[in-house]
């Protein structure tokens, strides 16, 4: 399969490493020989229809901060040109998320579909801004569209619901969908430390970003709830439809009072038809959603299976490459490979 990588940051490189590491596994187990024919980042691009050497690409991009440093790489904004001109089967859209405009990912995805290429993305922006549009464009263009990595990192939230639970009607989805806030709440409960102190610790450890607003205000979780509502509940929801409350006002005393009653506080996203919500909730200790550290967890409420919960790592380049690679294999199978 000929692959184009758009975006070569943490996730792009994680995927690159996974493709190197698992080359013979992919061939032997799945009959897939992935060939990365182009890689693009915000500074430049490199194209080789015979296939790039990924180990060298990773080395060059690591050293010079851009894929343009590899062999015949060119500098400039080249994403759209590559998407349209380079012969490929699958485009990975892995650029940073912009939740207001969805750009540049939104345009990348649309152009790729119009050019007849299958699309795999981890980018929440386009999915939050234009889910229905992209979903129907993919159908119109006769291409596959996958976005497992956009929710839950390595946790197969969307795949589990769409494939293995396909016989059920999903009544409600609840989840701990943001590792940063879960880390902060967990540390607050084990250390009794105030929010501000734990946030600084999380930033020093790289668990929280320099500007943690999207995480701690619950907006990142709300984006994921919007995506789940659209992709699994058949809704046409936007971010503004989610009632959002973050964790900045949660105090250690609140967690202590919760613990005295056998509960803990988690930032929970809830999606059901007619009501989308994100906010801190009391969760009984020992409940499937009472996961610690940076873990993510999701519970589906279903008409037949009743309740199914899954948990796992919600972020990290290696963990997320599990979902990105899974989507590739899934497309390969869907196409009869």
């Amino acid at each position: 399969m000929r692959i184009v990588l758009i975006g070569f940051g943490n996730l792009g490189r994680g995927l690159g490493r996974a493709l190197v590491q698992k080359a013979s596994f992919l061939h032997k187990t799945h009959g897939i020989v992935p060939r990365v024919v182009a890689a693009v980042d915000e500074f430049g691009a490199v194209v080789d229809e015979k296939g790039l050497n990924l180990a060298r690409l990773l080395e060059a991009a690591g050293r010079k901060r851009t894929v343009a440093a590899y062999g015949a790489g060119k500098r400039g904004k080249l994403a759209l040109k590559v998407i349209e001109d380079v012969e490929a089967d699958v485009v990975y859209e892995l650029t940073p998320t912009n939740i207001r405009t969805g750009e540049p990912g939104l345009t990348h995805i649309k152009r790729a579909m119009l050019a007849g290429k299958h699309v795999i993305t981890s980018n929440k922006g386009p999915l939050v801004v234009a889910f229905r549009e992209l979903d129907s464009l993919a159908k119109r263009c006769g291409v596959e569209f996958r976005y497992s990595a956009s929710v839950g990192g390595a946790v197969p939230v969307i795949g589990l619901a769409k494939k293995l639970l396909a016989g059920n009607e999903i009544q409600e989805i609840r989840g701990v969908l943001n590792g940063t806030t879960n880390y902060i709440l967990t540390r607050m409960s084990t250390e009794g430390a105030p929010f501000e102190v734990v946030l600084r610790e999380a930033q020093e450890l790289g668990v929280a970003e320099k500007d943690p607003t999207l995480d701690i205000e619950g907006i990142d979780t709300a984006c994921k709830i919007t995506i789940l509502a659209n992709s699994l509940l058949g809704m046409d929801a936007r971010l503004k439809d989610v009632k959002i409350s973050g964790i900045t006002r949660v105090r250690p005393e609140a967690i202590r009072l919760a613990q005295e009653a056998g509960q803990t506080i988690k930032l929970i996203g809830i999606a059901k038809r007619g009501s989308l919500e994100v906010g801190p909730k009391l969760v009984p200790l020992g409940h499937p959603l009472a996961v610690g550290g940076t873990l993510n967890a999701v519970t589906f409420e279903l008409d037949l299976a009743r309740e199914i919960s899954i948990t796992g790592f919600g972020a990290g380049p290696k963990e997320t490459s599990s979902s990105l690679l899974g989507d590739l294999i899934d497309i390969h199978r869907t196409l009869g490979g």
């Binding site: 105090r251 005393e253 609140a254 919760a258 506080i265 009391l282």
Partner: protein, 167 residues
């Protein structure tokens, strides 16, 4: 939840003990047993009223199924008064926004009572936290109490943290 069950037992020794077994097996905690001998049915069965606490509806259903399986007829089943309890946390200037008024407004609802309150004061000028347990006659009233409390919290600029299962 607290459950009231009325069942009819044959008037022979050992029947009651047999009927109680599934309740303890599925984790029920008996609070009262009342034999109603004076209300013996035409077929000679004796109604027995039980009140017990049980974790959730699934366990209750298992108990009822076990009773049915041993031929015990359950004639009445209901959640008892004060059967639904829900917990909520409030974060903010709890005292300055008149916690007593908050409680009075909830207690004014029919079949609703604030049954427990714990308060953790913040440093002077900082926000405090309260944990409130609300007891209601049934789930509908509990939901009503929670949505009322949410409105009060919004007006008093308090952050309200409800239980995951609450509406």
């Amino acid at each position: 939840m607290l459950v009231k069950v009325v069942m009819e037992l044959e008037d022979v020794p050992g029947q009651l003990l047999k009927a109680l077994e599934p309740i303890s097996r599925f984790g029920g905690n008996l609070q009262s047993i009342m034999h109603q001998r004076e209300r013996k049915t035409p077929l000679g069965r004796v109604p027995v009223m039980l009140i017990f606490e049980i974790g959730d509806r699934t366990r209750l259903n298992r108990i009822l199924a076990a009773l049915r399986a041993m031929g015990v007829r359950v004639t009445q089943l209901g959640e008892r008064e004060g059967a639904v309890r829900t917990t909520a946390l409030l974060v903010g200037h709890i005292i300055h926004t008149d916690i007593r008024d908050t409680i009075d407004r909830l207690n004014a609802l029919k079949g609703v009572m604030v049954s427990d309150l714990s308060l953790a004061m913040g440093a002077p000028g900082k926000e405090s936290t309260a944990r409130m347990t609300i007891t209601a006659d049934d789930e509908k009233r509990a939901d009503l109490a929670i949505s009322n409390l949410q409105r009060i919290a919004d007006r008093k600029k308090l952050l309200m943290i409800t239980s995951l299962e609450a509406v």
